[in-house]
Amino acid sequence: MTFTEADFQALVITLKLAAWTTSILLFLGTPLAWWLARSTWRYRFVAEAVVALPLILPPTVLGFYLLLVLGPQGWLGGWMNSLGLEAPAFTFSGLVMGSVLYSLPFVVQPLQDAFSSIGRRPLEVAATLGAAPWDRFFSVAVPLAMPGFLTATVLGFAHTIGEFGVVLMIGGNIPGQTKVLSIAIYDHVESMEYGQAHTLAGGLLLASFVLLMLIYASHRRFRFTKI
């Protein structure tokens, strides 16, 4: 049962990655989920399918495609290179991009469900009481969807912490930069350092368990009686 400095570094990177990913996903996922929940566009299902795609796509495959896009020869990475920026593959920002894609459904779907379950009525009421669209969104939709935000945040965070295939592929397992906890565990197992693997895996398990318990506990807290 040892906890090396390298493991600590992996833990810090993991937490940072999860924090960035979750924040970006909440920022981007909220308008997306709102649109999915309220759009009457007939081809909306196409967008919903795209959002759900990371659920079924094997992570290594997703990671490989990301590598194709974000590497220095990829269209995005190459374009960034030509602007004098670093291609995102094998950097922390590449990890964030990969994780954002991979955890997208875990944030968007709870938000979409929460927004849908509010229904149109409270927003109509707010409109007739003089609330403009943005006002309605922040004063009615967001507070009423709070359980969904909580679920989305915890699931997005936990899922990012647990992800492996995408970050291994797009990150390149570089200690101190892109080596996250799940990869550290994998490496420990591969090199038969089972003691260290147990410490990290046990910690991850415990932390995830606590996070998930928080969701369910808070759902009880946040339950609104239907009116």
């Binding site: 009525r121 009421v125 409109a127 007739t128 009481l129 006002d135 507070p143 609104f224 009686t225």
Partner: protein, 354 residues
């Protein structure tokens, strides 16, 4: 007229156009059977639904026109839905303050008065899920008033409530309509609510708006289905003019004379609304003596119409108000009923509304 609207519903294959005018004060009831489009009309007026080729004008503001669309939050109205639809994340007071924060600058509403009118003082700190159905609807009405709207739109606010809640809420609604000058557009399919609350009535049916006019004229118009209803009635306003201390009777004055009702029911000088059912009115050619009926008035037959094989519906004028009487065709023949005939109307019972 304060509100004028012309709404076109439906798409290519099914078109329905409704034209509506409502006066600038009092309660205008949109009355009609379920499914005739009352709610759709109200939603269109509020801007919750947008129908092409429609026009809505409120006072001097164009809410919807050829090249103009005012979104609902910019219209100086408030809306009470059939379900209370309170904000579950706020307390009762929070719900009221939500409206107060967003009220128009020139609106002068006394929140305390609104709270008092709907008896909400005790409920203010409560959470929404701790309220009963009737309490929720009271909060919803107060919230709408707290915005200080120039017009209040109500969509069957009592329809989803149990009988007891309805009974306790109706007097509060009456108080609201008396105390506040805000014009109200009130959708209902209950004749009782309409006769109690409305001053002006828009009668709706399958094709749209059938007729509209002051409530007393509409109820006694023999050409409209209201008068043909089994519970057909007339309403009139009367003022309390005195009490008979010996027999405990209250005397109510109106343009046709004095009506007496048992008990000391209202304060002196107070105005009340009376409802007189067609089935409670009978006709005689002479002023009857030796009868238990106290309320007998000279009346003029304005119109009459056979109803089914056995009955006749008669519209009478007593003073300046119209009332209905339903008698048998046999009685009509014996009376020799003709238009402009002078008769005596015997009123067996009177419903007191305020």
């Amino acid at each position: 007229m304060t509100l004028r609207a012309s709404i076109s519903f439906g798409q290519k294959h099914f078109q329905k156009k409704m034209d509506l005018e409502a006066p600038s004060h009092g309660v205008t009831a949109l009355f009609g059977p379920s499914g005739c489009g009352k709610t759709s009309l109200l939603r269109a007026l509020a801007g919750l639904d947008r129908h092409a080729e429609s026009e809505v004008q409120f006072r001097d503001q164009i809410w919807q026109g050829k090249a103009r669309w005012l979104p609902p939050h910019k219209r100086s109205l408030a809306f009470v839905f059939q379900e209370p639809s309170l904000f579950a994340h706020l307390t009762v007071l929070g719900n009221l303050k939500y409206a107060v924060k967003r009220r128009r600058e020139q609106a002068a509403v006394d929140l305390d008065e609104v709270i008092a009118l709907l008896h909400l003082n005790e409920l203010l700190p409560r959470k929404i899920h701790q309220l009963s159905g009737g309490e929720k609807q009271r909060v919803a009405i107060a919230r709408a008033l707290a915005k200080g709207p120039e017009i209040l739109l109500m969509d069957e606010p009592l329809a989803s409530l149990d009988l007891q809640s309805k009974r306790s809420l109706l007097p509060m609604l009456e108080a609201v309509t008396w105390k506040l000058s805000t014009p109200i557009l009130y959708v209902s399919h209950s004749l009782e609510e309409v006769t109690r609350l409305a001053n002006y009535l828009v009668l709706m049916g399958e094709p749209g708006v059938l007729a509209s006019g002051p409530i007393d004229e509409m109820l006694t118009n023999l050409d409209l289905p209201l008068a043909r209803d089994a519970d057909a009635c007339a309403v009139m306003e009367a003022t309390c003019v005195g009490f008979d201390e010996e027999f405990h009777l209250t005397s109510l004055g109106f343009s046709g004379g004095h009506l007496v009702v048992p008990g000391r029911v209202v304060a002196l000088g107070k105005q009340v609304r009376l409802r007189i059912a067609a089935r409670d009115v009978s006709l005689t050619l002479q002023h009857q003596q030796g009868t238990s009926i106290q309320n007998i008035f000279p009346a003029t037959v304005e119109a009459f119409q056979n109803q089914g094989d056995a009955q006749v519906l008669v519209r009478l004028r007593v003073g300046e108000v119209g009332i209905l009487a339903r008698i048998t065709q046999k009685s009509a023949a014996e009376l020799g009923l003709t238009s402009q005939q002078r008769v005596f109307a015997q009123i067996k019972s009177v419903g007191l509304l305020h």
